[in-house]
Amino acid sequence: MAQNHSVWTSIRFWRQSAAWVTGFAVVLLILLTFDTMGQITMGTDADLQKGITKRVPAPTVINYHIGYKFSEKRGHEVPVIGKKEPFFGKEWSPKEAAALLHKGKLTEQAKNCMDCHTLLGNGAYYAPDLTKAWIDPKWKSMMAMTGKKTREEAMAEFLQHPERYPTHARRMPNLKITPDEAKALVAFLKHMSSIDTNGFPRGFSKGVKEFEAGGTYAH
């Protein structure tokens, strides 16, 4: 309509407003993306040694104990990277740890974990969330079931032969995971549990504590 008397019914006005608003939103998103990328890029091994906290730590975080504790300051739980501990009986060099994590991430995708489980809360809702799977108290009973001495060995055994260790009617299928892939997957899960997820899942550490004290919901 050429003869427009009010700006509110002018197509030109709304077209220009749409362009400006969209442009502004896109520019803001790009700026925020740069900042976020800086904050979620993996840290280095040196950061870990100096005790510098990164939102996503270096792959060598698998050489450390990882906890999940309530932070008064932040009002929710945060991952706590503790003392060094062996992972599959050894300390992994930065190069070895990076290669292991790479293999673990590839395996996670190749076995399509995300279409049953959630990772960082995203995926399917047929099986437990894996965000903090490394610190799940379940691995204690799984160590007894599999007859393994360490958590990582129990996890690797379970991942290779889940059909042998059913806990419920809903079972994980055998995904032909090799021993190397299983080890890498456990490294991937341990690394993921060290990511600062702003307190998700909330209350996970409480569950761990209750379970370790005799448990109210284990069955």
Binding site: T22, L29, L106, A110, P128, A133, I195
Partner: protein
């Protein structure tokens, strides 16, 4: 089977190509529902097809068939509207037809590999040839590149026809939005060891599709359809379309932040995500009001007969206006604030929202476009809804709404028991899954899934026959 739909009243090859896309879309829609039924049964009886066709496979094909049928129906809709809007046959239509066959062949191979090979070893070969293992973007990398080539051809068809022909406001929005929609796919085409970075870009594709560019696409289709079906005034429809673009992009682009609460990204996304995603329902209300306003106006004052040229298409578009608001707007807003989302993230709440939103916002209007296509293909002046049309829309809408309600109840229970009470983890998860409330909800979900599937059978039956029946009635 679907070749029984005749094309001979369509003057443009471009529109015939659109109909070809619609045919594949409806087949994939059926595949999506079948896979959903398998997955729903597995929730109730976990040993069903265990080790043969596991939940992960059914679920993967379920969501990929969904995305692909919608993309097919979207591409089909664009081809269908090009001649109407620009007044021309699409530039390079022969190449466009070739691209259709290439894409359909590629999709067939991808689906067969998903179904029969399912998974591969943990190395690059699996990512490239079998399965990328990233929800919604499971298509292997070779297919990603194939899709890019086909989409480039499609965009060439659309863009050069737009340049040559009439440049309506509807087509302007379509052309600009399609560029963003297609370009975003590239954000999902790389591998990284860093799961946080992975999910950051993964959401660029998923969110900026379904909560930004796809929504604008729907607004554009609704504008075109309202002009076509009820003869709505182009000036008013196009003005509304620009307002919708403003509000949809204004809220949806930064609404992306609501996916960045818990994936390792900084806390400032809480505020940004909460604010902008809370605004996302606003344009959906506007779209609803707009459709009803135009409809009411065209119903005619002074006792004139309503001038709806395509009954079933109009019914689906009104369902879209309401379903988009309800499924995307209300069900999305339920759990978009971080204070709520920390408990609901990754539960059946998300599944409830996903079912109702994909249906309400997208399935509805795309089915409406198929009815428009049938009307054109048979050259029917005024196409009325048949008994089958009514059964289809009633059963599908009732079924999906029922599934969403059942999943909401399941999600509510899961949130309270697994998350709030027990704090998450393996035993917390199964405690919640094994409670009778969850089991009942999953039972009702399956029942409602069957209702939806019966509605789908009516829909296909109607699409196959309404053209012939109505063209005979009109004579």
């Amino acid at each position: 089977m679907l070749t029984s739909i005749k094309n001979h009243n369509l003057q443009y090859e471009t529109q015939k190509l659109g109909m070809m896309y619609f045919r594949v879309a409806i087949i994939l829609f059926g595949a999506q529902l079948l896979m959903g039924l398998i997955a729903a049964i597995q929730f109730m009886y976990p040993s069903f097809l265990y080790g043969i066709f596991d939940f992960s496979v059914a679920r993967m094909v379920h969501i990929n068939a969904l995305v692909v049928w919608m993309l097919y129906a979207m591409i089909g809709s664009v081809y269908y509207m090009i001649p109407d809007e620009t007044g021309l046959e699409a530039v390079g239509i022969k190449l466009g037809k070739l691209a259709f066959w290439v894409l359909t062949l590629a999709i067939t191979i991808v689906v067969l590999v998903f179904i029969f090979i399912q998974i591969g070893p943990g190395d690059d070969s699996t990512i490239w040839l079998i399965n990328e293992g990233r929800e919604y973007l499971e298509a292997p990398r070779w297919a990603d590149y194939g899709i890019v080539v086909v989409v480039l051809i499609f965009y060439y068809n659309v863009f050069f026809t737009f340049l040559k022909g009439r440049r309506t406001g509807v087509m302007t929005v379509m052309v600009a939005n399609l560029l963003a929609l297609a370009g975003l796919y590239l954000a999902g085409m790389f591998f990284t060891d860093n799961i946080s970075v992975d999910q950051y870009w993964w959401w660029w594709v998923i969110h900026l599709w379904v909560e930004a560019t796809w929504e604008v696409f729907v607004g554009t289709l609704a504008a075109y359809a309202l002009i076509k079906i009820i003869g709505a005034k182009r000036e008013i429809v196009e003005m509304w379309l620009w307002i919708e673009v403003l509000m949809l992009f204004g809220s949806g682009i930064l609404g992306l932040g609501h996916h960045y609460f818990w994936i390792g990204t900084p806390e400032y996304w809480w505020e940004i995500g909460a604010l902008f995603s809370a605004l996302e329902p606003v344009p959906l209300v506007a779209m609803f009001v707009h459709v009803l306003y135009d409809w009411g106006k065209e119903q005619g004052a002074h006792g004139e007969k309503p001038a709806i040229k395509n009954g079933p298409a109009m019914a689906w578009i009104v369902t879209n206006a309401f379903g988009n608001f309800l499924g995307a707007g209300i069900w999305g807003f339920f759990h978009t604030l971080p204070q709520v989302n920390i408990y609901t993230h990754g539960t059946q709440f998300t599944a409830a929202h996903g079912h109702l939103a994909f249906f309400g916002a997208y399935a509805t209007i795309l089915i409406g476009m198929m009815y428009l296509g049938i009307q054109g293909a048979y050259g029917i002046d005024r196409m009325k809804a048949t008994f089958k049309s009514k059964m289809a829309i009633f059963l599908i809408t009732f079924g999906v709404l029922g599934m969403a309600v059942a999943l909401t109840i399941a999600g509510y229970e899961q949130v309270l028991v697994e998350r709030a009470e027990l704090g998450g983890g393996w035993d917390a998860f199964f405690t919640a899954q094994n409670l009778v409330w969850m089991k009942q909800a999953m039972g009702w979900r399956t029942v409602m899934g069957v209702v939806t599937f019966i509605g789908f059978i009516y829909l296909v039956w109607d699409l196959l026959t309404i053209g012939k029946e109505e063209s005979e009635n009109n004579q």
